[in-house]
Symmetry: C2
Subunit: 386 residues, 2 copies
């Protein structure tokens, strides 16, 4: 090996000055980062068992579920595949209800497992989910065994009607898979009340932990399908997780440092209390929306009576006078990182997240930076009186 | 949520006093742990690109490969499934050469993807691989497209003939998948010289980083098979990784903190130099073996002319006078954690790892503890002159 220098010094100062307002990874509190400095422990020992047990216990409270719950050493996408891959075999009819990138992802994953039995109830990205259309699809689709939906669609900033679609799925005796990756920990989620047989959360979103982990809850009804499926994925085989958790273990080596961090992040959540935490998320998203409209910008999602603006990420239309590069670049110059639109929404929207342990201070800094960028580019908004 | 206390306080002092001599997770140097205290960065930004790029560059040097290489946010098992799952479709004949738990794991994974075309060349756990048997199997197996093997079989402490089996696979124009999870970074591995079309390493083994990551290299020949396979897994879809790395990104959110740690672990490796590092591993394993035999204990693996004792983990027979619980418990009382036998080897062997950034000091402490445990239990060995 050569003696060449390693270049990435990690400009910590710059990293610490930049404010991540993207929908994950979110900024992680120093005390949570420090939790990762703990030394390694034996992943088959009692200490790990206690750690895992406590994490699972707190997550069940946060999920509001009595179902089984596991922590996966993989991102939210890993948990989405765990859900669909464990449920789907050749005979499984899957209905994917989608109105955004992450809703579509369920369909893509289902296609990898069994493309010919996937029905998509497809709404345009940013449009609300119409219950009547979902109802019709479920009635016309002979024996749908699984229904998937994203609760908080991060790609468009819309909150989908989880409880209502859950009821429809239950009526058809289908397993309801609900992606709560960016809602649990920041918005109201009652997994059992929502009839969500499978619910998923990501670590690096509203929970305020670093990325690389996800948690998934599984109901009895979901187990019935999974246990009958002989072609389950391996690394994310939930039946293996179920067997291992009896010994308070994971089937394969867990990402220990991330478990330490998640445990600390959950301690932060318990200290704040879920009600206060959800209220904080709600207020901060509202503050962003209020600022946006007062600047003459407009919100991207269209709503109906069963949908709402997301309380964890706000999607904003880029007016034709401006480009995404101007907004992103201008904000970055001021130390604030925002996210753009994904795929077909590239250049059309930008997104500001209010997830995790973000406070008023960070939101004000973001709004202020945005205002400066708009002024710098002489955008005063069509509705602005300036 | 209740006001109940969180119990897991993480007895850091105890954790720091205990010496992990198990084959992963290995003890992680404080400077590597501290690297995880870095704040989050945007996983689609330039800083992440630079970080990922440098990690990949150094890993390619360590792998001794010109093939593509990716870092997965998942354990070694995740990378094993990535290899087999991306390669295997209905028409793929797979030959799994195995003489231990992890060799068998390839077969299990292949079974999930396409059970009916899997041939196993099976040697008893702890027995060496016979090249003649492998050769016959490849000749009798019509058109084997993939051959899998574990280089360093952690479950039995044996080093398998990678180069020789690689040559046989190449002769049959098969893609050779080599699990180097516990050899790369601690033993001689020349991925390209070994004709390993796919090679895998785990983060928490000889690289000395925390668990939760793995790296995988992919040759042109392997790409040909993967690109033709339409039912690839999703989270570990290597074609998606290939596409994303052009932008120096990963397809799904990477475990950032673990990337920071891995980068620092690779810096440690560069500072030591690979030759010295391998020599250190060799010396430490030899010291363990010498002590073991001088205590009258015996080594578990049987060797032939193309196999060797592992330089990263030593598997030791438990004599009939003693139980695993006595050995493990006695060592733990002295602050040293060793591993037992897995599955069919439970109670029959125990294992001492010499992986990562372990030094003479830790090995001496381990040997001393073992000696005390043997004396405490009045075991002086059948070959001992005491």
């Amino acid at each position: 090996m050569g003696e060449d220098k390693i270049l990435f010094l990690g400009d910590i100062r710059k990293m610490e000055e930049e404010l991540l307002m993207i929908p994950g990874p979110v900024p992680v509190l120093p005390r949570i980062l420090r939790a990762m400095s703990k030394p390694m422990i034996h992943h088959r020992g009692d200490e790990f068992g206690q750690l895992y047990d406590e994490i699972v216990g707190i997550l069940k409270e946060i999920f509001q579920t009595r179902n089984d719950l596991f922590v996966l050493s993989g991102s939210g996408t890993c948990a989405m595949e765990a859900a669909v891959g464990n449920l789907a075999d050749k005979k499984t009819g899957i209905v994917c209800v989608t109105n955004g990138k992450f809703g579509d992802r369920f369909e893509e994953i289902a296609g990898r497992y069994k493309a010919d039995v996937v029905t998509t109830v497809n709404f345009a990205w940013g449009r609300p989910i119409e219950l009547e259309t979902v109802k019709e699809a479920l009635e016309n689709r002979l024996n749908p065994k699984v229904v998937t939906m994203v609760h908080n669609e991060t790609s468009t900033g819309i909150l989908n009607p989880a409880k209502e679609v859950g009821k429809l799925a239950r009526k058809h005796d289908a397993v309801f898979v609900l992606d709560c990756i960016t809602s649990i920990g920041g918005d109201v989620v009652h997994v059992d009340e929502f009839c969500a047989d499978i619910a998923i959360v990501g670590s690096q979103k509203c929970l305020g932990a670093p990325p690389g982990m996800s948690a998934i809850s599984v109901s009895e009804k979901a187990w019935d399908l999974m246990l009958a499926n002989k072609k389950r994925p391996y690394y994310m085989d939930l039946v293996a997780y179920k067997k291992s958790i009896e010994k308070k273990q994971t089937p394969y080596t867990p990402a220990l440092s991330l478990f330490f961090a998640l445990h600390e992040a959950l301690a932060v959540i318990k200290e704040e209390g879920m009600e206060k935490r959800i209220e904080r998320h709600r207020m901060l998203a509202k503050a962003v929306r209020t600022a946006i409209t007062s600047f003459g910008l407009s919100l991207f999602p269209e709503l109906n009576e069963v949908s709402d603006y997301s309380n964890t990420v706000t999607a904003i239309n880029i007016p034709h006078e401006l480009t995404y590069e101007q907004i992103r670049g201008g904000m970055r110059k001021r130390g604030v990182i925002v996210a753009g639109g994904q795929e077909k929404l590239k250049g059309k929207i930008f997104r500001i997240a209010t997830m995790g342990n973000i406070t008023e201070k960070e939101v004000l800094r973001t709004i202020q930076a945005l205002e400066q960028v708009l002024m710098e580019n002489k955008y005063y908004g069509k509705n602005s009186e300036i």
